[in-house]
Subunit: 306 residues, 2 copies
Amino acid sequence: MTVQTLEARYRAGDRRALARAVTLAEAGLPSARPLLRAARERAGRATVLGVTGSPGSGKSTLTDALIAELRARGERVAVLAVDPSSPYSGGAILGDRIRMLRHHADEGVFVRSLASRGALGGLSAQTLPVLALLDGAGFDWVILETVGVGQSEVDIAAVCDHTLLVLTPAGGDGIQAFKAGIMEIADVIAVNKADLPGAERTVRELMAAQGLGWHDEHTWFAPIRRTVASRGEGVDQIIEAVRQHREHLGETGLQGRRERRAEFEVRTLVQERLLQRARAAGADLYARVARGELDTDVAADELLRG
Amino acid sequence: MTVQTLEARYRAGDRRALARAVTLAEAGLPSARPLLRAARERAGRATVLGVTGSPGSGKSTLTDALIAELRARGERVAVLAVDPSSPYSGGAILGDRIRMLRHHADEGVFVRSLASRGALGGLSAQTLPVLALLDGAGFDWVILETVGVGQSEVDIAAVCDHTLLVLTPAGGDGIQAFKAGIMEIADVIAVNKADLPGAERTVRELMAAQGLGWHDEHTWFAPIRRTVASRGEGVDQIIEAVRQHREHLGETGLQGRRERRAEFEVRTLVQERLLQRARAAGADLYARVARGELDTDVAADELLRG
């Protein structure tokens, strides 16, 4: 398939062309550029939802239940699942994703898993172009799911229209999220496994915590919804809460989110290039700084000059 | 005090001069440069220990107990406590730090709290120069304590000689750390509040998890030590484990850690400058990318050209 044919097919909403485009973008190949340009011209129609939460909160199960509910409503869904590349956790987390594969035969569902982590611990430079391709491919929803650890949690809020934080009633999850400042990134909160003891208490604690932060009449208080993802319970309310947040953002707010996503993508790219320059300059640059022979300011200037 | 006098006094180990130098570096003032150069020439003598862990694990109490034990041995200790700037969590976490102030009258202890967060969610560009000043000020130990959330956890491991991960027996802390890939950053693990039920089980789970990762005969298995920080129990064993890790690293390993710290500092500085450039270029750059009018590659080039 030539790049021109590929672009035409991608524009026509061909699923195989999309899969191929994603592979090109993931590899960072120049042939992905015209596809990305096409994607961005058509982007902004999908509801881009980030799903994050600690391991074991049931993010993947909830994402799976969201797919099922959205499909029942006739909406097309793309899912991008990002795992931190950890020798410890990699396998275990990918295992949780297997259930999503049951949607594989459904033409209205596209699932892709990226087992990658950026140089700085967050989303890699390859994740964003893939997200752009999905956004521009005509899906109604694009769901970006990542395990809530390290920078990826902060990143996901920076690149999505809406962020869904998944908590559980277990182990003071709500208080932890509050103390760690993670509640700030949430636009919607799911208290999943709400059939377990402590769900009511967790909801009450979260609501109390929301009242503590700075707020005025324009402040968005993330709706807190009880879910039992394994049985699909409460999933419709999550979708409704996301729609409410979309309405709250309005066209101006959504445009702002799209620009923030573009900013994130450009900055990630810049960082990767600087990393390459630093490698080319040799480790010597940093060794000189470490020995006090070179000021950090001067070293930074050297890197920026290239 | 002139900059020359300040530098002379800093070199002489004057505590007030150090406090002043830290303030200058924190503000990012050019007058901090000669002080930072002096610091880096003298750096590398201190044991730079990062302390991280989830909120409520007792990090601050353990840091406080470490100060007490190290002082009893006649060692000089500097502590840099970094809080994420969160409207929610800020106050609560700073409150935990108050107990450390009891060392304020002790000339052999220097405590500074930075309520700052970098543009990318991790350590701010101001944290690293302050760390360098403490390292070069003749302390035997420099402890960098941060709440284990988001990027700061990954960052702390990148800038310290040794990373102490503080866990508790509660709520499957060990399994969470394992699943989230956080165990990888730990050089020493404290199972704090070890008088609570479940401590033995947590230790066993952590040891089992360590066996799962990739390893060969050179792999460092983070020693797992039980502590009850509020009573000072097990703190001597933490210090011993850090010394063991220092021996494991050797002079070459420690030099590598110092270069990694310098690299981190330079890269943070570069990122901040790029951020300023992007602001100067106006938000228009990102808006054009978001509208598909400008390729991300071209935008990245524009930023790098300045």
